[in-house]
């Protein structure tokens, strides 16, 4: 289904629950989504950071989308990261995923989240998207993440979409949103570049940045994997969506305390968010295994600290 608009609010950068054999942990995915869906405004699957999208491979991606779509049932839009290391690879992923969606008659909203500089340069990007959007069935969300591009270890490669190119990309109707990580100055420049599109949302891709100066479209959150209720509350407060709650006498204090708690959580998982959060979800018996596609050696033994923090603060 082609969604016309995107919601404001909380996008959860979902971990990909894996079993010990390296397949999708269906039970874990179901349990995790049941915990998260009441609070999420959209779910990102196979994201390059939390969803381990760079290491999943096509088969796992298809399996993940099929299972997640079954559990999500169109309740919230799905963002799915489709970028590969080449234009052809990216097109192939989209083609397979679209075939799956067609065959399953999925009627929820799906958006392809694309990090174009992961496989393309700024030069010719507009033509690339004109072509890509013409030959695919679902709308796109751009992901500007210079940190991801740095992982490619190509010193001369630009990490950010150039502002004037983004301005052109904003004219393509099928591009519906941008998830942004980067400096505040660049955020302002991008905002100006996209001003002509009132329907195009710009989400913060950086949790800490959002907690400091919230974008009024919303945030892509890592921490919402473990504290979706608190992230939802803080996001909605930041977006001015908690009208009734504002009248409670201690409202501001509550939101302040929640924000502080989220910052403490970020401090705990920021060293290795995928492993630490998966380990916590495993300790809390939400997923069946903390297995990751790529685990930093020697990290495993230290990290029950997040699960302990969650239990201590009674975080839902």
């Amino acid at each position: 289904m082609m969604a016309e608009g995107l919601p404001k609010g909380l996008i959860v950068d979902l971990i990909t629950p894996l079993n010990d054999k390296g397949g999708i942990d269906s039970q874990g995915l179901d349990t995790l989504l049941k915990k998260i869906l009441p609070y999420a405004d959209a779910i990102l699957l196979a994201g390059p950071q939390m969803g381990e999208g760079r290491g999943l491979g096509l088969k796992l991606k298809i399996d993940l989308l099929e299972k997640a779509a079954t559990f999500i049932q169109g309740k919230v839009p799905i963002f799915f990261w489709i970028s590969e290391d080449s234009v052809k690879g990216t097109r192939d992923v989209i083609a397979h995923l679209e075939a799956l969606l067609e065959s399953s008659s999925y009627n929820g909203a799906v958006f392809w989240l694309d990090s174009p500089l992961f496989y393309h340069s700024n030069r010719g990007l507009y033509n690339h998207y004109q072509d890509l959007t013409l030959n695919t069935g679902y709308p796109f969300v751009l992901y500007n993440d210079p940190g991801l591009i740095r992982l490619l270890d190509r010193p001369l490669k630009r990490g950010n979409i150039r502002t004037n190119i983004l301005k052109d990309l904003g004219k393509i109707d099928k591009i519906k949103a941008l998830i942004f990580r980067g400096s505040l100055t660049r955020a302002n420049n991008y905002q100006r570049a996209l001003n002509t599109r009132a329907d195009l949302r710009v989400y913060d891709g950086d949790e800490v940045g959002f907690l400091e100066h919230p974008s009024l479209s919303g945030v892509l959150s890592i921490g919402a994997n473990i504290a979706p209720g608190i992230w939802s509350k803080v996001t909605r407060a930041s977006l001015g969506m908690l009208k009734e709650d504002r009248e409670r006498p201690d409202y501001l204090n509550q939101i302040w305390e929640m924000g502080k708690l989220l910052r403490d959580l970020i401090q705990i998982y920021s060293r290795n968010p995928v492993w630490i959060i998966k380990k916590a979800l495993f300790d809390l018996k939400i997923i069946g295994s903390p297995a990751c596609t790529n685990v930093t050696e020697g990290f495993q033994e230290k990290d029950s600290v997040l699960a302990d923090f969650i239990s201590r603060h009674n975080i839902v």
Binding site: T185, N188, R192, H213, L216, A237, I255, G259
Partner: protein
Amino acid sequence: MRKDSRLIKQAREVLQIEAQGILDLVERIGPEFEEVVEMILNSKGRVILTGIGKSGIVGRKITATLNSTGTPSLFLHPAEAVHGDLGVVTADDIVIAISNSGYTKELASILPSLKGLGAKVIAFSGDPESPLARESHLFINVGVEREACPMGLAPTTSTTAALAMGDALAVVLINRRQFNRRDFKRFHPGGSLGDRLSIRIKEVMLKDDKIPLVLKDQAIEEAIFEIDRKRLGASLVVDDGLVLQGIVTDGDIRRSLIKRRDIMGLKVEEVMSTSPKMIDEGKRVAEAVALMEHNAVTVLPVVDRVKRVRGIIHLHGLLGGKEFRLNDG
């Protein structure tokens, strides 16, 4: 040192975000703004601002700006409105309702009444789909993309944007009404002493029938009556062509009484001073005050190049409170 740098960085970020909020309005402002301006210009009523919380404070500031720039305006508190203050609204009025979310229930509760009274409602809101935007006659989008304050604890960029849009409206109205510096001073009689001193004398002098005048061959009784009527402590003495001949002051009359006991029957020219200090109407108040102080006088005739009387100024009028006002011409 490092701590200070961090604070300054944060402060700069806040200013950067708020500036961006206003810059976004630059791109977004459109024909609906022109419609608002025309609606206000064509209205026989007042512009009534309403809003609650920080939007209310912004509304009060816009009210003050509109009033001081020639657009009659008042602020209506939504909570007071439902308890009787709606009576201030007439069918000729235009109400600007400010709410970033557009869901403020206090505003929602008075909207039907405002429209029922026949007033036109303009929404200043950040959400075109909000009830306030939908229920208003015109909608001005003052939405911003980012607040500077963490977690929405206090509106920052959004209130700045609404305030700036109010200023834009006031300034455009100034230009459309051809409101000028004279008009501004007319609405700001309580301006600083410095402002007063910079004004030209012709803008503040007393003119026409407010000038005490006698001819030099009139009886001194006439001069005394004229001084009493015009209450400036002096009367100018002129010829038939209004050319200044001299001045008769309270002091001149007092000194004549001491000298002659009975001055009745004397002519004005026998009592007047024949070389009064005077000033040109093009000079500034500061020069007049300096001249009066230097010569220990409180009244100065204002004359043109051929010494024809154009007006008169009094020291208390120039420096004091309520007597100081711009003249009508």
